[in-house]
Amino acid sequence: MSTAEAHIEEDHGHHHKETFVTKYVFSQDHKMISKQYLITGLFMGIIGIAMSLLFRLQLAWPEQPFGVFEVLLGKWAPDGVMDPNVYLALVTIHGTIMVFFVLTAGLSGTFSNLLIPLQIGARDMASGLLNMISFWMFFVSSVIMVMSLFVEAGPAAAGWTIYPPLSALPQAQPGSGTGMTLWLVSMAIFIASSLLGSLNYIVTVINLRTKGMSMTRLPLTIWAFFVTAIIGVVSFPVLLSAALLLIMDRSFGTSFFLSDIFIQGEVLHYQGGSPVLYEHLFWFLGHPEVYIVLLPALGITSEIIATHARKPIFGYRAMVASILAIAFLSTIVWGHHMFISGMNPFLGSVFTFTTLLIAIPSAVKAFNYITTLWKGNLQLNPAMLFSIGLVSTFITGGLTGIILGDSTLDINVHDTYFVVAHFHLVMGISALYGLFAGVYHWFPKMFGRMMNKNLGYIHFWVTAVCAYGVFFPMHFIGMAGLPRRYYTNTAFPYFDDLADINVLITVFALVAGAAQIVFLYNFIHSMFYGKETVQNPWRSNTLEWTAPIEHFHGNWEGEIPHVHRWAYDYSKPGYKEDFAPQHIPLQKGEEELQH
């Protein structure tokens, strides 16, 4: 540690020499990298959300011409009517962008980078260079993913899970040509970026904590980021191998995932492979990915709920234990995506068992959040509202997981809109709320200015109402038996009575989309014209607020503060103020909580 620190001290001495390029482009400062992640993530988010609005229009008013389709989709929307292949492409890219580019890189990348060094008391990440490379690889993969939207035959369209043979054979759908190649290349680079980032987070948390910052004094945010990084390192390489094998099948004629195929009037040479193998490899990442997305959001929520409730987080030890339990269980539940894939039903039993177990740590977390609110002194800032909103959608969405995780019940709701409703609430909306909460809370730390609270309130309330408006009715059309990824349900007169619900959902989705413009406006405007912040606007305990408002490489002038207590001494008896930051020594005779 000492050499790294000394090295950075040295850098710090030279920080005036920074040029525009080293400061804003190829920066090795974790704070700048975090902003780069956030802005790239938000940009991808705009694309992802806009796509969802386009296909929601098609679902509510199937095969109706829309001017906006003609403008944005061009030849893929002849006379303004969306083509079925484009519908599938939109669904696919929406999923990919939201899961990986917004909620993995945009959320975890932003806040792990910003908070790990600042909250543990380090001058920077263990390796600034790796950190910079990690961001730029993410950037390149984003560019390739966006580029894939413009290829001749259209982008990948096999669903975000890109199951072969559909994704492997250009004969099966136009999107499985160049579009799919770019998708795979983009994801391979993305995975490399994510691994570099994760390794850096793990090493930093283990090695660079300031004096007194024992693991049991770490804020829950750091615990969440740390464990998330470990899950990432364990599971992302498996997706990389799946992607590489798929590339081999596609381009070099191997048969890892393909066998006995007759398509477009032709028998293909593939023999002996199995698409089920791909499903195993994909979901070995795919399920932990849910927690890679969700845990950072829960970590952020823990910190924000405690700070704004002016109360210690309830059951710190249980919270850490449940993060660890969720992380462990998340790696052995992937089979619940495959109950009806044709794998042995006995495996289904095993995965039902492990899957339903994960409800226990999740329940503990939810109850602990609720208890933290009890008898608090809630400061209902936008960040706090989004955190409470997260707990609400996490419960609503999580509960239906009990149905989907049960192999028996999954038979009839598998791949219907019931699943879409479930995972959007429990990981999509929840993680997005975590992202918003984090931005509202740490905006002053990032940009030295406050975001406008009234716009924040408008943003939250409209989004909260619309999120339920979109996804609650979706459970019903799923239970009615409507499969997801259908271009329209008009081919089945049996589903005609679902048309009303689809219109209702789309209207809510459009309003929710409009509410995000309020956020974007607030974000950009506040960056330049927001009210200048004080050093610790939320009167928070964690170390990042002891660092000066102005950013420089190295975080603290002079010595890094030492830590004397956990992060949650809010409203502790014996203190005049309702908070006691981590760097304040214990008072005479004061006992540190045994947690």
Binding site: G342, I388, G481, P483
Partner: protein, 354 residues
């Protein structure tokens, strides 16, 4: 033109927001807001939290009231009853937990909304409480897991037997075919490599060297005798498909290069189902919608929609390409006599390739 319109609308919205914030700022005379919630913000947002609880309950009640009739259509297979039972028990538990936890969450957010000078309770641990809410989910989930696994094994255990009817479901982009095993009760071997034999008449690639295949019958419409166990063997010739039969609570993926299976016993015929009061009212509702839509179509010079009559369906439920949304097959459940009559009218593989 549209681009200009969209951009100008976006710019107008941005200006509108900017103006609204200006108004907010100006209305707070001289006192520059710190942008941190004050007592006033805590108060109205706390109250909105309570209102939001009512909204969640409201949307739940509204959804059940308006859309309750589309939930889980009547089951038409023997295991369907067990399935529905487990579903409603799980639902009841979920509802109870949802109602209580959302109430606590939002009520606390309202009740303990911040006030200047108030101090929160320093309360960071309580082992008893935590024990309680760990143990209760453990027991509830243990119950659900056991019940679920029992039903799962029951449904998924497929035992070959002489009574059962073996039917192959054959998936391809973008339609379904079914193959009956004929008099010998055994499906002939098959592989996609035989599809080109017999000038394309070998629709599902039956191996002509396997004598079991000659009496096999390939059809485009699925007929099932009521009250007899049907063992489905699924195949696909190109990409993944999923044979989804919601009324029978049945689903299994069709995987190229592999044979998957699923079995159930249909216990209601199509005719009986058409007379079920729930289905009758559903069909009536759908036809009302279709008549209304037809009027619009005819007015714009299109053809009117056919009136809808209830039928069991097989849908594709695994993304498989452009026409995935229209990959379906009609299922007719009928009396054993009707089934016998129908099957004897179909051509066997031997007859087809002659």
């Amino acid at each position: 033109m549209n681009v200009v319109l969209i951009f100008s609308v976006l710019i107008l919205i941005a200006i509108a927001i900017w103006q609204v914030t200006k108004i907010f700022e100006l209305s707070q005379v001289k006192k520059v807001s710190t942008q941190v919630a004050d007592d006033n913000d805590n108060d109205w947002n706390g109250k909105l939290m309570f209102a939001f609880l009512i909204f969640i309950y409201g949307i739940t009640i509204f959804s059940f009231w308006s859309y309750g009739d589309v939930l889980l259509p009547k089951a038409a297979s023997e295991h369907g009853y067990d399935y529905d039972n487990l579903m409603w028990i799980s639902f009841a538990i979920i509802f109870f937990v949802q109602t209580v936890t959302q109430a606590l969450l939002h009520y606390f957010s309202y009740k303990y909304r911040g006030e200047k000078g108030k101090k929160a309770l320093f309360f960071s641990d309580n082992e008893k409480l935590e024990m309680i809410w760990t143990i209760i989910p453990v027991f509830v989930l243990a119950g659900l897991i056991l019940y679920g696994l029992y039903t799962w094994t029951d449904i998924m255990t497929v035992e070959e037997n002489d009574e059962a009817l073996v039917v192959e479901l054959y998936a391809q982009q973008f339609n379904w075919k079914a193959r009956y095993s004929g008099d010998d009760g055994v499906l002939g071997d098959a592989n996609v490599r035989f599809l080109e034999d017999f000038e394309g008449k070998n629709l599902v690639g039956i191996d002509a060297t396997d004598p079991n295949g000659f009496d096999d019958i390939v059809v485009q419409e699925l007929h099932l005798p009521v009250g007899r166990e049907i063992i489905f063997k699924m195949r696909s010739q190109d990409v993944l498909h999923s044979a989804y039969m919601p009324f029978f609570r049945a689903q299994m993926n069709c995987v190229p290069g592999m044979i998957t299976e699923f079995a159930f016993t249909p216990n209601i015929t199509t005719e009986e189902m058409r007379q079920d009061p729930d289905i009758v009212s559903k069909v009536k509702k759908i036809n009302k919608i279709r008549v209304k839509k037809s009027k619009e179509l005819v007015a714009s010079g299109d053809v009117a929609l056919d009136p809808y009559e209830f039928d069991f369906l097989l849908l594709c439920n695994k993304i498989c390409g452009a026409s995935h949304y229209n990959m379906q097959m009609k299922i007719i459940v009928e009396s054993p006599e009707d089934y016998k009559k129908w099957i004897s009218d179909q051509q066997t593989f031997a007859e087809v390739i002659q």
